[in-house]
């Protein structure tokens, strides 16, 4: 049974196919309003994530399907000690497709190995979150038209930010993409990502600690949150935190058509004053996430022969 656990589970052709379907859904939503009639999506959220869960649920409803879910992880069978494998087997009996979010890394793979229906990873700890990357890709495609030739700035926590690593993996498949990695020394992109993805494929990148210096070159600015708990001491955090907050002043040097993305939720890393700027795309990203989840549900249900 085909499942999607990591963005690497999807080929470039499949990514293109998903974006094409998503754009078709945007153009002709009525054509998709009944395609999943009488089909059920189970959302297994073992940790709270309002936005991702609602996005999956909205996606399934807009395809004409239904959603079943557990009310909370605390009241689920997991709280009684049931394994992820057993939960996946049981839920397979009720649902046609499963979206799972779990605090432990690898939990979605365990579910996929045991379920009889397709499984979508809706986030497994700090490991993978492929549908966020799908949202990012569609947003860039819709804003810029193509990936080729873009200079993509990734800013903030590039060490622990799973969305950043996935996005680098996905965009590396396209020609002439260049990365500017903007982070404090403590939160640089891990060496294995640079070695296994960027250097291996000869993709140009530069590393800097200054958002102001980097911003004029960027076509895309992908912001992430610099979290206090990632620092060894409070002093370093206080020294660095404001360097990675996007303000209207910092945006002055940017291109007029640069697109600003953020996986959300934001805390303070993008000033609210920027929300009205036409370059702010992070709320469009949320909507694009729903369209890509619709496309992914459709693809997997078709492959499984369910629809």
């Amino acid at each position: 049974m085909r499942s999607v656990i990591d963005i690497l589970d999807l080929t470039t052709e499949e990514l293109e196919g998903l974006m094409a379907t998503a754009l078709d859904i945007v153009a002709r939503p009525d054509d998709y309003a009944e395609v999943c009639r009488r089909k059920k999506l189970a959302t297994l959220f073992f940790e709270p994530s309002t936005r991702t869960r609602m996005s999956f649920e909205a996606a399934m409803y807009e395809l004409g399907g239904n959603v079943i879910s557990m009310s909370s992880a605390a009241s689920s069978s997991a709280a009684k000690g049931e394994s992820v494998a057993d939960t996946a087997k049981v839920v397979s009996c009720y649902a046609d497709i499963i979206a799972i979010r779990h605090p432990k890394e690898g939990a979605a793979l365990v579910a996929a190995e045991n379920a009889d229906v397709p499984v979508i990873n809706a986030g497994d700890g700090g490991h993978c979150h492929p549908t966020q990357t799908l949202a990012d890709l569609l947003t860039i495609r819709r804003e810029k038209g193509a990936f080729e030739g873009l200079t993509v700035g990734l800013c903030g926590d590039l060490k622990f930010g799973r969305t950043v690593h996935s996005l680098i993996n996905a965009l590396s498949r396209y020609r002439d993409v260049r990365f500017v990695l903007i982070s404090p020394e403590e939160l640089k992109v891990p060496s294995y990502v640079k070695r296994d993805v960027l250097k291996k494929q000869g993709i140009p990148y530069q590393q800097t600690t200054s958002l102001e210096d980097a911003i004029p070159d960027l076509d895309i600015l992908y912001m992430t949150r610099v979290q206090r708990e990632r620092f060894f001491n409070e002093e370093d955090y206080l020294r660095l935190k404001d360097s990675y907050i996007l303000t209207p002043e910092k945006l002055r040097g940017a291109k007029k058509d640069m697109a600003i993305l953020h996986p959300l939720p934001r805390v303070n890393e993008i000033s609210v004053a920027i929300d009205a700027d036409p370059r702010a795309c992070y709320f469009k990203q949320v909507l694009n996430g729903k369209f890509m989840r619709m496309a992914l549900i459709l693809m997997l249900l078709k492959e499984a022969g369910t629809i």
Binding site: S83, V84, A85, K104, E105, G106, V110, G125, H127
Partner: protein
């Protein structure tokens, strides 16, 4: 120093000097009720120094463990005092039930019945990663 030759059993030869004890432990040879000899720092023309393990019983030996600890070691099967097979062991693509993932955030840390499976992700640098969380083995 002499160790008697064996009639029926297994000889793991060409072990990189210093790896013998680790191999002994990971192969679970300490649990065997047969004679096992670990010979350390044997002079070798090819390797300079090497370790050798001799097991005085014709038991199945886990190839993946040898390939993980010391690719290039050779596994010799002895029957009736004769060498019946000699095989250089290569790095396995997958390791099942040999090492444990140390990442406390990995699903294997809470669901103990899950098999510990690692995959080879970099042959040159000999990197194995947990299939669940992709943490590199130490």
């Amino acid at each position: 120093m002499n160790i008697d030759s064996i009639q029926n059993g297994v000889v793991i030869d060409h072990i990189t000097a210093g790896n013998g004890m680790r191999l002994y432990s990971l192969l679970g040879l300490d649990n065997l009720d047969v004679s096992v000899a670990i010979i350390k720092n044997v002079v070798s023309r090819k390797m300079g120094k090497k370790d050798i393990i001799k097991i005085d019983a014709d038991i199945p030996v886990d190839f993946q463990v040898i390939g993980y600890v010391d690719p290039g070691a050779t596994l010799n099967i002895i029957r009736d005092g004769k060498l019946v097979s000699k095989q250089a062991v290569e790095m396995p693509d997958r390791l099942t039930g040999v090492i444990r993932c140390y990442n406390p955030r990995c699903i294997t840390s809470t669901e103990q019945e899950l098999k510990q499976i690692f995959k080879l992700t970099d042959r040159e640098k000999r990197v194995y990663r947990c299939i669940y969380c992709e943490t590199a083995a130490k």
